[in-house]
Subunit: 219 residues, 2 copies
DNA sequence: AACAGAACAACTGTCAACAGTCGTTCCCGG
DNA sequence: CCGGGAACGACTGTTGACAGTTGTTCTGTT
């Protein structure tokens, strides 16, 4: 059906479920669907032009991702975050990324890892002009890359399941405030620590970074 | 329909989806469904006496939980863990539980927390005669309780999404070997550290516990 | 005017059926 | 004997419809 968006090389036939999942995730994390909004299956399925069954599958994933929460009687609505929850999210995030840093420090050959991370930081710098969304994307990409490079799939998976919540936190605080955390130097410090292989320093840097970030967001 | 299992006080109307979810989770984590088994929707829906749509929703949750993985063409099968993945899982677990310990240590009034944790340990001791499954249940309950008592919902959620994998790891190694990690004293040490409020010592104890546990499992 | 009760409407839970796709088997021509 | 291809079978992707439940509104009675 949808022959659109199929790059010949990256052969990605994406199911309706995945499209719906991506669309909903985006709508929620950009605020298009405001927190607290009741997600009525019949409405949404009509809007997205898919059947309820297909939609429901996507909703289950969103639910487990923490973007939508179940109220009474299976009623689903967009999750609402308060300040404490944001701090909690960033605590867990710090723990995961600290582990990532430790594992990277324990690697024998960190050269290629460092190189890739520096590339990610360069992209952040380039994205500085691209507007707010681009910077956020680049920032998340850096942190996700760090988790991915450990080769610890479970770690990456856990981080990913937090990514939606992180995006919601950013939206909650407002983009202008959030970009204050996207400083290039702060991220360079992390990579510098990784390069020396000093795990303690790396985790400390990340912990400080996250604590600061959470404080900025809940302001 | 199923008026069974409805204690008047604990009003639990459980949907078919949740029942299927629980049944599948149990079947997988007990080895009843061996790793690598292809999960054919039509077969399973017939076995469980539910429709495919309902089953599919449950399968999505299992998938995101990491218990089943998608092969080519949406074909789902029971996930197979190797030694490295088990170590990875326990690394992440250690990171999460260390965070839990830190947050508990930071609490002003830890008395009630300590009390509840000691109660959980007592249950472990009592379960010692109840057979292998009971001991594992009690052990997981202790660690889950620790995460829950932090009040950090995100942390608890992340830990929960790891629980299935932990159970699979235990099954992978075999119950006899796994129960070697269920030592009461090892857990008492953790609570002792928490009681003193020494976060560094608590995280260290947990880290050692997890590393040891992983080693025993992959041994 | 206040209230009980009945029709109504809005949703979610669940199901059975259709459509599309990929691997497999079997047959036929070389 | 062997290779191409056509029919077949086995699944998953997707859909529309039915059933049950809960909140709501409207009406009739006191």
């Amino acid at each position: 059906m949808a022959a659109e968006s199929m790059s010949l090389l990256g052969l990605e036939k994406t199911s309706l479920r995945q499209q719906a999942l991506a669309a909903l995730r985006r709508a929620i994390t950009t605020g298009e669907l405001a927190p607290g909004t009741h997600l009525v299956e019949t409405e949404l399925s009509e809007t997205l032009q898919i059947s309820r069954g297909t939609l429901r599958e996507a909703m289950r994933e969103l639910q487990q991702e923490g973007l939508i929460s179940a109220g009474a009687r299976g009623r689903l609505s967009v999750r609402h975050l308060d300040a404490k929850e944001i701090r909690d999210i960033f605590s867990v995030r710090a723990a995961l990324e600290s582990l990532a840093a430790c594992e990277l420090c324990a690697l024998e050959d960190r050269a290629s890892v460092i190189k890739e991370l520096r590339a990610a930081i360069d992209e952040m710098a380039e994205a500085a002009e691209d507007g707010l969304e681009g910077r956020i994307e680049a920032d998340l990409n850096f942190h996700r890359t760090m988790c991915r490079l450990t080769g610890n799939e479970t770690l990456l998976h856990s981080w990913r399941s937090l990514e939606g919540n992180i995006r919601m936190s950013i939206m909650f605080a407002g983009l202008e405030r959030a970009v204050r955390n996207m400083d290039v130097k702060r991220h360079s410090d992390i990579v510098d620590a990784l390069e020396t292989g000093d795990a303690a320093k790396a985790t400390e840097t990340i912990g400080a970074h996250m604590e600061g970030a959470a404080s900025v967001l809940v302001g």
